[in-house]
């Protein structure tokens, strides 16, 4: 099952004119946001994007832009009030996020 979060919020942006068709974005995206359309990547499931930034980081052409961040209310809250603890510590479930994985 593929979970979907809020629609029309992602900051993901792809400049297809820069794409060289290497396919790295398709490989690294954990949400299958991209697919190939005539050897050029295109965004086909935009609302599934979780803004992890993997695609932008691994695009050798710099064709992808996204404001990458962690979708964690606790971290946003800590950040907003400038409190310590915005990173993973014992009170943050986020480090257990990919539990059965690695």
């Amino acid at each position: 099952m593929k979970f979907k979060y809020l629609p029309n919020v992602t900051t993901l942006d792809l400049d297809q004119s820069k794409c060289n068709g290497c396919g790295m974005c398709l490989v690294v995206c954990p949400q299958e946001v991209f697919s190939f359309n005539e050897k050029v990547s295109s965004i086909t499931d935009r609302d599934a994007c979780l803004e992890c930034g993997a695609c932008a980081r691994n695009c050798p052409q710099g064709a992808i832009r996204v404001r990458a961040g962690v979708g964690c209310a606790y971290a946003v809250l800590m950040d907003k009030f400038n409190l310590k603890g915005s990173c993973c510590n014992d009170s943050c479930g986020c480090s257990l996020e990919d539990i059965a994985d690695r």
Binding site: Y5, V9, V28, L50, A68, D90, C94, D98, A100, D101
Partner: protein, 379 residues
């Protein structure tokens, strides 16, 4: 301890210092005394390398339970460096791992019968996904560890297999430029690695997807519950004081059984709200209508308020009933919103948007409800 590992500076510690205790400063002594997950050493062109056990022992399992409960999690970091599984040679694949012990354990457990190298980075004792997001599992750390471990002397090929979830932090093309190693992103789940290796380093599409199954959602509940115990104790103390005051104001006589009994029954709806917010919301996540997690939490909270005021405590006043309808959904909405940090699909933009709407409503609702509950003691 190989000389390479000995010479390693505990880098990443500037990162670690600002937020987390330095996980691996025990270095040698940790390996010698604590690391019963090692089984001997392997001689290589660049000195001896520790070999890891591919079965988890009792201590590993106890550690795993502690980590899931959030007890002293930071003391479970694997010293960074190169390790061997089985009897790898210069052609064996190199798997790159975070030094979070749970990640490392779930990795080596899959390696029985395989011969390969494991390059453990210093991610500050944090798992791949979070470390990649923070940049500690990043291009610079991969390059640094490739060099520190003298990997190019040990293997003849020039390829690294990284967990796909490291991709937010690692730029494959830059690792190639800087370290001369090609990055191949492996599957999301450790259990898929043998299949990935057998298929000639090809991941099937389902190996690339980040799943979020019932078990994966529920395994997070204990750490959330442990985290909520402190505020819950606070609530219990406030309720105890309120009941003490109410007891004195009532007939002026103090009865310990009455005070304790009424405190416990007043605490019950809060405990139920915590269970609903941390266990039921994650469990029913895909089945609760609507997308914002605060909304999902709120819906279940309304159901809880209904159940509590009609079934569990039908005799309460109208004021109390109204107050519970305000307080309980506010708590479950907050806990639902908090669960965004544990999900595998929520984006920062979405969370910011959701919080902008939900947080003020939660605070108003909780505030009014608490005033109502407090007032109910004295009317």
């Amino acid at each position: 301890m190989s000389r390479n590992q000995k010479e390693l500076p505990m880098a990443g510690s500037d990162n670690a210092a600002e937020c987390c205790p330095d996980p691996a400063n025990s270095g040698d002594s940790y390996l010698a005394l604590e690391a019963n997950w090692l089984s001997g050493q392997l001689e290589t062109a660049a000195g001896p390398v520790w070999r890891v056990d591919t079965t988890l022992n009792r201590k590993d399992q106890v550690d795993a339970i502690k980590m899931r409960l959030g007890i002293g999690r930071m003391s479970f970091a694997v010293p960074p460096g190169l390790y061997a599984a089985g009897n790898p040679d210069d052609a064996s694949p190199v798997i790159v791992s975070a030094n979070y012990k749970l990640s490392f354990d779930s990795l080596r457990r899959e390696f029985s019968g395989l011969n390969l190298w494991i390059l453990v980075l210093d991610t500050g004792g944090i798992n791949v996904w979070c470390a990649a997001g923070k940049g500690t599992f990043g291009t610079a750390e991969v390059v640094r560890m490739v060099e520190a471990s003298n990997l190019s002397e040990i293997v003849s090929h020039r390829a690294l297999i990284l967990p796909q979830l490291a991709a937010p932090g690692v730029a494959a093309h830059e690792v190639r430029n800087q370290a001369g190693f090609k990055v191949i992103y492996g599957p999301v789940r450790a259990a898929d690695i043998p299949g990935f290796l057998n298929a000639g380093l090809k991941a099937r599409p389902e190996m690339r997807r980040k799943s979020f199954t019932l078990a994966e959602r529920l395994v997070l509940a204990p750490v959330e519950l442990v985290g909520i115990i402190k505020p819950l104790i606070g609530v219990a103390v406030i309720l105890l004081l309120l009941n003490l005051i109410a007891s004195f104001l009532g007939d002026g006589r103090f009865s310990l059984t009455f005070v304790l009994g009424s405190t416990i029954s007043a605490l019950l709806p809060f405990v139920l709200a915590v269970v609903v917010g941390t266990v039921l919301v994650p469990a029913l996540l895909p089945y609760i209508p609507g997308r914002p997690l605060a909304w999902k939490g709120w819906l279940l909270g309304v159901l809880l308020a209904f159940a509590y005021t009609t079934v569990i405590a039908p005799g309460i006043t109208l004021l109390e009933t109204a107050a519970y309808y305000l307080v309980l959904p506010a708590i479950t909405a907050f806990l639902g919103m908090n669960f965004t940090g544990s999900t595998t699909y929520t984006s920062l933009s979405g969370v910011v948007k959701e919080m902008g709407v939900a947080l003020p409503l939660i605070m108003i609702s909780a505030g009014l409800g608490l005033i109502g509950l407090g007032a109910a003691y004295f009317v």
